[in-house]
């Protein structure tokens, strides 16, 4: 049987996670990752990489829970193994503090992180303008180490990497049977998604120094500006694109906003299932 040729567009955390999931789970496919920017120049590289999730309004809660749990368990296994330093994935404990008490005191992901509890009054005392907080242990994933580590894993699974800019998905239709679109903000032009918008934060050092005064004594090593590929909801779904007589399946995995690191593996597993499903359909069609 001819090998199915898959192109994954994008070399950020969503791209490499998807590429690794597919290459490792579906050896009948040949997977090529195509991107113009690689670590340390991707959006993912600038992320702090703390795994905690936001809630998306239109995605069923069960699916969001599954994404989070799968991502967390995958990263936790790395964090407690000897791979931790190479992969840049470590355990990290901390606090999430709120100025007002939120309506939902226990977010959906609280059951998946470790040791989740509400902060005590004694702990909140340090943060005068904040009335509520969560304390928990989670994982932190530094993409400037994690992406090269994933790339290594991708290569070991037989994956190929191509550095080039894709201006139009049609460019890929001749050479690939299925496209996985992990182009983040690039989706705006690549697939004409007007729902993707960049989000950027300003005045960071001053606001953070008020929370943690010792930061005023910290040496600034560098600044980084990135645009989160935000969308009301991440787009993780299959689309069949009709072009010049071709029907090309495109599996989208973009729009994770500030939750890219947190959700990458979970959404990548969904992508892998969508690809597997599609291959199953094709096989069935071929037999009929």
């Amino acid at each position: 049987m001819k090998r199915v040729r898959i192109a994954v567009v994008g070399a950020g955390v969503a791209g490499f996670s998807s590429a690794v999931c597919i290459a490792e789970a579906l050896p009948s496919c040949s997977v090529t990752l195509v991107a113009d920017r690689f670590s340390p120049d991707t959006t993912s590289d600038g992320a702090a990489g703390i795994v905690l999730a936001a809630e998306f309004p239109d995605i069923p809660l069960e699916r969001q829970k599954r994404w989070f749990k799968n991502s967390f368990d995958h990263l936790l296994a790395i964090a407690v193994s000897a791979h931790s330093p190479d992969a840049g994935v470590i355990l990290s404990s901390g606090w999430q503090i709120f100025k007002e008490v939120p309506a939902n005191k226990k977010p959906f992901w609280s059951e998946f992180v470790i040791g989740f509890r509400i902060m005590t009054d004694g702990e909140l005392r340090r943060f005068p303008h904040h009335k509520f907080g969560h304390a928990f242990t989670t994982v932190r994933c530094d993409c400037s180490s994690y992406l090269p580590w994933l790339q290594n894993r991708f290569r070991k699974a037989g994956g190929q990497v191509e550095k080039r800019k894709v201006n139009d998905l049609q460019e890929l239709f001749n050479n690939f049977d299925l496209i996985v679109n992990c182009s983040g903000l690039g989706s705006k032009s690549l697939v004409g998604d007007t729902h993707v918008y960049p989000v950027r934060a300003e005045g960071i050092l001053e606001r953070c120094s008020r929370l943690e005064p010792s930061l005023r004594k910290a040496k600034v090593l560098g600044e980084w500006v990135g645009l989160r590929p935000s969308r009301k909801n991440p787009r993780v779904e299959k689309e069949v694109v009709q072009v010049q007589g071709h029907r090309v399946p495109v599996v989208h995995n973009y729009g994770h906003g500030g939750s890219g690191v947190t959700l990458a593996w979970g959404t990548a597993l969904d992508v892998m299932e969508l690809v597997r499903e599609h291959l199953g359909e094709k096989l069935l069609q071929a037999r009929l």
Binding site: S81, G115, E123, R126, P213
Partner: protein, 342 residues
């Protein structure tokens, strides 16, 4: 009033600070001088990891628990200052691991967010059946002691690089009160069979991915004789041992092998760590802290001594509480001498 403090570890310097703070505005003149033959970074306080945590159980020493709490609360307040890191103070969370269920420790209500470990967390540490998680403080001697010395120098406290051979030596040269903060070597000034060295050896490594301290406990092996891993502001301290009666300050290669092997079992990623150096120090171990006054007869006169030594492996943990108590004892001496000006 002339005060001579012997010892420039965390106990000597913080006691000098507390005496100054409590009495400089009411006692005039108040001359404070610190005598020591070892200063930062060569004191016992400098070599310690700088982790705030008392021994698990206080054996009824409620005063020590109170002094520990005073110290924790005092250090915690400093976190709101940008200088906290210059003092070597920062928060860090971590795990206390036990081989079997253990009664709750004396510090459970002092630290932040104390709780039992969940089953998932225990799975991360095979061989340990029980334990706790909490957020505690670090106070690194290598930063804290220089900060204290600067603080004292700015207020006119003088430092003398000298080995003091007897209390009389200082009293003869004019000291009205002597504060004995000589740690493990207190026996050289006054024999104390209860004071013994508790030798510890540690390995400092570069492993910046470690963000939690991990302390293991074993009733069988005894305090700090089982592995512990304590990340610091720059390097990670890996230990440990607690050898009572061993006066050697030299690094021992058998101890190194043993400590490293057990620590790597506890934290496998350590095998990627770069070893920077070993260090051995002598904890001033005693059944309880000696914090009390003594009036020593010397011929026709008396020498007023405040003892503040024997803090074992919890000197940094308890220092402020003890310093404040020592200052209170100093106040008692002043009242007796009729020097107190209200």
């Amino acid at each position: 009033m002339r005060v001579a403090v012997i010892g420039a570890g965390v106990i000597g310097l913080s006691t000098a600070q507390s005496i100054y703070q409590q009495f400089h505005s009411t006692v005039s003149p108040l001359t404070i001088e610190v005598y020591a033959d070892r200063f930062t970074p060569l004191t016992t306080s400098d070599g310690a990891a700088g982790f705030w945590q008392p021994y698990l159980h206080d054996k009824g020493n409620i005063q020590e628990t109170m002094w520990n709490k005073m110290t924790f609360d005092y250090l915690l307040k400093w976190l709101s200052s940008p200088d906290s890191i210059k003092m070597g103070i920062f928060l860090q969370s971590g795990y206390n691991l036990c081989e079997e269920p253990t009664p709750e420790p004396s510090f459970k209500d002092i630290v932040l967010g104390f709780r039992e470990l969940t089953d998932r967390e225990l799975q991360m540490f095979p061989g340990y059946k029980y334990g706790w998680f909490n957020t505690a403080l670090m106070v690194e001697g290598k930063s804290y002691l220089p900060w204290l010395m600067d603080w004292l120098k700015e207020r006119g406290v003088k430092f003398h690089h000298k080995t003091i051979k007897s209390f009389k030596e200082l009293s003869d040269s004019g000291a009205d009160v002597i504060v004995n903060c000589t740690g493990v070597r207190s026996g050289e000034l006054q024999p104390d069979p209860d004071l013994k060295p508790g030798r510890g050896q540690i390995i400092k490594v570069d492993a910046p991915w470690l963000k939690h301290w991990i302390i293991t406990h074993s009733n069988k092996a005894g305090t700090y004789n089982t592995p512990y891993i304590i990340p610091g502001s720059r390097l990670v301290t890996v230990g440990g041992c607690f050898q009572v009666g061993n006066w050697s300050e030299q690094n021992n290669s058998t101890d190194h092998k043993h400590i490293w092997e057990y620590a790597c079992q506890l934290e496998p990623s350590l095998k990627h760590a770069r070893i920077v150096e070993d260090w051995a120090g002598l904890r001033p171990a005693r059944s309880k802290v000696r914090l009390e006054r003594e009036t020593i007869r010397s011929g026709a006169s008396t020498i007023e001594v405040i003892h503040n030594y024997g803090h074992g492996g919890f000197g940094l943990t308890i220092h402020r509480g003890c310093a404040q108590e020592a200052a209170r004892l100093f106040g008692q001496i002043l009242e007796q001498k009729g020097n107190y000006i209200f």
